[in-house]
């Protein structure tokens, strides 16, 4: 698995050679700095810690300042770990660019979805709406939430209105259409969770990579 951190920049479209157009999300990915290498001897598992985006020193806590100083970099906005199956082949201070991915790669993109506040069942779970005319008064009501005598309670996990969005969402099996190494951009086919400017993690697809719908 390869991981890179980035920011969603927005969507556009590109044309393939045969003239079909593909909607793509532009992600500004990397450069990321390796801020720490975890080893199985010391930490119990192998991983590397990546940092992305700048943050002013003033806004960084003293312990973190020390952490970044140790890595020899400026303070970073985001830190994420990539789990490795064996010892890391890179060392602290190395940079990782978007070139870790190439055209045609299948990736998963993790982001935080747009917050929608307290949403009803229609928006949140895709329930159907009632009639607006013919004397009906339950336009957006959820309907029955359970039977009366048995089970005489509402099942756990019953889909109801509540807070929607602003949650970690993974979009799986997206294809990398283009890599712009000069400007650290990844063009990923399809939509990606979160608003423009939102923080996203792009990683090698976990499942279905070979036969993934690209």
């Amino acid at each position: 698995m390869t991981l890179i951190l980035g920011r969603k920049r927005g969507m556009t479209q590109v044309f393939t050679e045969d003239g079909t157009h593909v909607g793509v999300t532009v992600v500004e990915a990397g450069p990321c700095v390796v801020t720490q290498v975890r080893t199985s001897e010391k930490d119990g598992y192998d991983a590397i810690q990546l940092g992305f985006g700048d943050r002013s020193e003033k806004r960084t806590t003293k312990p973190l300042q020390g952490h970044y100083k140790k890595a020899g970099t400026t303070p970073k906005r985001f830190l994420r770990e990539e789990r490795l199956s064996g010892p890391a082949d890179c060392s602290v201070g190395d940079t990782r660019t978007c070139e870790v991915f190439s055209e045609g790669d299948i990736v998963d993109v993790i982001g935080t979805s747009k917050g929608r506040g307290f949403a009803g069942t229609i928006k949140r779970h895709g329930f159907s709406r009632g009639l607006k005319t013919h004397g009906c008064m339950n336009y957006r009501a959820p309907g029955s939430i359970g039977a009366s005598a048995y089970p005489a309670r509402v099942f756990k996990g019953k889909r109801m209105a509540g807070h929607f969005g602003n949650a970690r969402v993974t979009t799986k099996n997206l294809q990398v259409v283009r890599v712009d190494a000069k400007r650290n951009l990844l063009f990923i086919k399809g939509a990606v969770p979160g608003p423009k400017g939102g923080f996203v993690q792009v990683q090698t697809a976990k499942t279905g990579a070979p036969g993934a719908k690209g």
Binding site: R9, G10, M11, T12, Q13, V14, F15, E17, D18, G19, H21, V26, E28, L185
Partner: protein, 157 residues
Amino acid sequence: MNLIDELGNELGKKKLPVVHVGDTVQVHYLIREGEKERIQLFTGTILAIQGRGIARSIVVRRIVQGEGVERIFPLHSPRVKDVTITRRGKVRQARLYYLRDRVGKRTRVEELVGEKVRRERLAAKEAAAAEAQAVAAAAAAAEAAENDDPEPEAVEA
């Protein structure tokens, strides 16, 4: 400039044909038939221009054998080789969807002509009228001459 617009500028064609709603255009569209490639012309009226930047596309409508046919062409598509304007239209709407409900002669869009063309046409019309008048006058004169002719002859005789 916004990164997305910038990318659109880079990825798209450098120069787009300048077209407007209501124009009658010929779209040179590359089609593939098995191995062969050829350019097909689609002639019609632009009903609407949609999208911006690299997503810009035109809706072209024409009547084929009494049946309205509409096609959407992304202007930046590599398969759209060229768009040539054969006639410019004088329209007051941004979307000419009302043409869908029209049949026959009413589907036409009035031609937009510049001041120069209008003057030229007017001049041509006037010239034609003058010429017609001159021809008529000449004919009248000739007729008159014919009528007059016998007299001098008679005098001579």
